[in-house]
């Protein structure tokens, strides 16, 4: 058993901490939260330093580290600011992961390096207006015509859709097969593809610097080479992909909780009521102790899930446990942080309310908390 980051991992944490603390200023955080705009410059800067390509292999201009190192980076980014942190860490989401596993050498060479270097942004489109938690059938269809596929349909809630240079899209390629998920495939396509259109979604509760949009596909024609991996394996690829990326969502949650906790802790030491710092009141100090315990537990689960993955022993139950627990901890801790701040906590300028608003997403995307519990119980039933 080894419960400590190694020297290299500590250095990584320190480097990303220094970068984020200098670059993710509270003012920028407020500004981008208000504007609902993607922090392109920060994304590029972080990418040039390697912070956004931790898990990408060195052959494709990535850093060649594992998921655990990525979690360290993501946690730290979201600790400093949940909105900017989520946006920057999700700039090249999922496309490199799926290509590294299932892509052809040509696809990898073409698409991954620009994403690794921060010169491009990616989006991964699974959810549809009618299919969120349940993606066993997609209304977006791809029909073969000669050596092309013609794709029609729409996708909803797609991170980066309005900005992305490259997309992966889960489509129903065989509408008749039962069960339907055996007829799904993933396509890769570029922004410039005719018929592909994205619309920005405004008014999100949190992670507002992270741009979300809907995607409409109308007679989008892509070459058969744009199928990722094998035809009709898309659903399985998607599940495996989420088992991996979900762990980084847990890391986001841990970081958000940690950031709110640290702010609340400092505040409780300086805010005086009834003649003493409020941290002297057990009603407050016990809250802080509970928060610290929860965060530590969430971090342990997250690191364990990441470690298992890096050992080549991916465990969907460990992943789901980490995500569901960390997501809840993020909600509870950020809520208590506001409580500790009292009225000030309710104001944007004191930042903790933003942590709370952002934290909620970690219970929703990449599989809701309910879906994680389904995974856990299914796994338990298999094992016990």
């Amino acid at each position: 058993m080894h419960f400590e980051l190694d020297e290299e991992q500590k250095e990584i944490k320190r480097a990303v901490k220094e970068f984020c603390e200098k670059e993710f200023t509270p003012e920028l955080a407020l500004e981008f939260d208000e504007k609902e705009e993607f922090p392109t410059e920060l994304y590029k800067k972080a990418a040039k330093l390697g912070f956004t390509s931790m898990r990408i292999h060195e052959d494709y201009d990535g850093q060649g580290y594992g998921l655990l190192e990525d979690c360290i980076v993501v946690e730290e980014m979201c600790r400093v600011d949940p909105g900017l942190g989520a946006a920057v860490s999700l700039g090249n989401l999922m496309v490199p992961d799926i290509l590294l596993k299932h892509g052809t050498e040509e696809q990898k060479k073409k698409y991954i390096p620009p994403l690794a270097k921060g010169d491009a942004i990616s989006a991964a489109a699974f959810s549809e207006p009618e299919h969120g938690s349940d993606i066993t059938r997609m209304d977006t269809t791809a029909a073969k015509s000669g050596n092309e596929w013609i794709i029609n349909g729409s996708k909803e809630f797609i991170t980066n859709a309005p900005l992305a240079d490259v997309f992966i899209v889960l489509c129903q390629t065989d509408p008749n097969v039962t069960p339907s998920h055996r007829g799904q495939s993933i396509f890769i396509m570029e922004k410039v593809t005719p018929g592909l259109e994205a619309t920005k979604l405004k008014g999100k509760m949190g992670i507002r610097p992270c741009i979300t949009g809907s995607l409409s596909l109308s007679d989008v024609k892509v070459n058969e080479n744009n199928v990722v991996g094998e035809l009709n394996k898309g659903f399985y690829y998607t599940l495996a992909l989420f088992d991996e990326t979900r762990i980084t969502v847990a890391a986001q949650a841990v970081g958000m909780a940690q950031g709110a906790f640290e702010r609340a802790f400092q505040y409780a030491k300086t805010r005086k009521q009834f003649g003493s710092p409020i941290i002297k009141f057990q009603g407050i100090s016990f809250k802080l102790a509970d928060m610290a315990v929860k965060i530590e537990a969430a971090r342990m689960l997250t690191h364990k899930a990441a470690w298992l993955f890096d050992q080549g022993r991916l465990d969907p139950m460990a992943t789901s446990m980490a995500k569901v627990f960390a997501g809840r901890v993020a909600m509870e801790v950020t809520d208590e942080a506001i409580q500790i701040y009292g009225g000030y906590g309710y104001l944007a300028d004191y930042h903790v309310e933003r942590f709370h608003r952002c934290a909620k997403i970690t219970e929703i995307y990449e599989g809701t908390s309910e879906m994680q519990k389904l995974t856990i119980i299914n796994q338990l039933l298999k094992r016990m």
Binding site: T25, P26, E27, L28, E31, D349
Partner: protein, 327 residues
């Protein structure tokens, strides 16, 4: 007779204030130690300086050589070493200035004499030299003893001692330069003044000084507005210039400008002495810092322990209100 040396610092025809500050303190030390106070002046055509110095010291040692025209630590080290070896003074006082820090450490190492740098106080307790200096950016003072040898070098912080003039009518003693061969390892080329942005902070009645507490360049405009509401201009501490957030002629302090406005508001400035020396003669100083132990509060008339970002906009509004402007 024991001697205390004060090295005269001059640049471009001017004796620098630190010299007189050291002479004042040196006289006090000399009296207590029963020593003579000797001003040492090295240069070219500096007879006038020697005359001025003779009013502050018992003796003036004057060495003239064209190679001493501009300060050069290597040349100074050679000439001064010879003087020290001959006179064996009890104490050599050198300014803790850019010249002083270039000269004193290598002089001390060359002569194997102990050096105490950046002193804000100097005392003898018997034969023991006791000095006071600051650490941690002025957050703590330390009293330290210097290794006992009977001949010490100190560098003295600027403005640590005030100047008192006395008509000493000291004796001017000319010494011939001991320079023989040319010293070529280090050559003075010229003085340069970095380009100016056109704002003269020394002329302003009201200055709002910002320090590293401002955190980001994007916060500068808000503070600038505050300064403008007071009819003043924005000044800053050194890190702000180092980061390129404001031009160098806005910098207050020893390596920037010395300012004496009617009002100086220090926002997020810790109060390192290099900064304080530039602004402590302001008529009214108001400091805002979130650290209650920031040294700046040792020099301010009014202090506010608060996050500066919470104060800037209410303050601007209040000022506009009192001025009868609409916000």
């Amino acid at each position: 007779m024991l001697e205390i040396f004060v090295l005269t610092e001059h640049r471009q025809g001017q004796i620098r204030d630190i010299t007189f500050e050291m002479l004042t303190k040196g006289r006090d030390l000399a009296e207590k130690a029963g020593a003579d106070l000797t001003a040492v002046v090295l240069g070219k055509d500096v007879r006038e300086h020697a005359k001025t110095l003779s009013e502050y010291a018992k003796k003036v040692l004057l060495v003239e050589d064209k190679r001493l025209e501009n300060f050069n630590s290597e040349v100074y080290k050679k000439v001064l070493s010879d003087l020290i070896n001959k006179h064996k003074p009890l104490l050599i006082m050198i300014g803790h200035t850019s010249f002083g820090v270039d000269l004193a450490p290598s002089l001390a190492a060359a002569l194997k004499l102990p050096l105490a740098s950046d002193c804000i106080n100097i005392e003898f307790e018997g034969a023991t030299l006791l000095i006071t200096r600051q650490m941690y950016g002025g957050k703590v003072n330390v009293k330290a003893t210097v290794r006992k040898v009977g001949c010490y070098i100190v560098t003295v912080r600027q403005a640590a001692f005030s100047v008192q003039k006395l008509s000493m009518n000291g004796e001017i003693i000319e010494k011939s330069s001991s320079l023989t061969e040319e010293i070529t390892s280090k050559r003075f080329i010229k003085y340069v003044s970095p380009p100016l942005s056109g704002v003269d902070i020394t002329a302003a009645d009201v200055l709002v000084g910002v320090g590293r507490g401002i955190k980001d360049e994007s916060n500068i405009p808000a503070v600038e507005e505050l300064a403008r509401s007071l009819g003043g201009v924005l000044a800053c501490s050194r890190p702000i210039v180092d980061k390129g957030w404001l031009p160098n002629d806005r910098q207050v302090g020893t390596s920037g400008k010395i300012v004496k406005p009617k009002l100086y508001i220090a926002l997020g400035i810790s109060g390192a002495f290099q900064h304080v020396l530039g602004m402590k003669s302001s008529d009214l100083i108001i400091a805002v810092n979130k650290d209650p132990n920031a040294p700046v509060f040792n020099f301010s008339d009014y202090g506010v322990v608060e996050d500066l970002f919470k104060l800037v906009s209410p303050l601007k509004n209040k000022i506009c209100e009192l001025k009868g402007h609409k916000i």
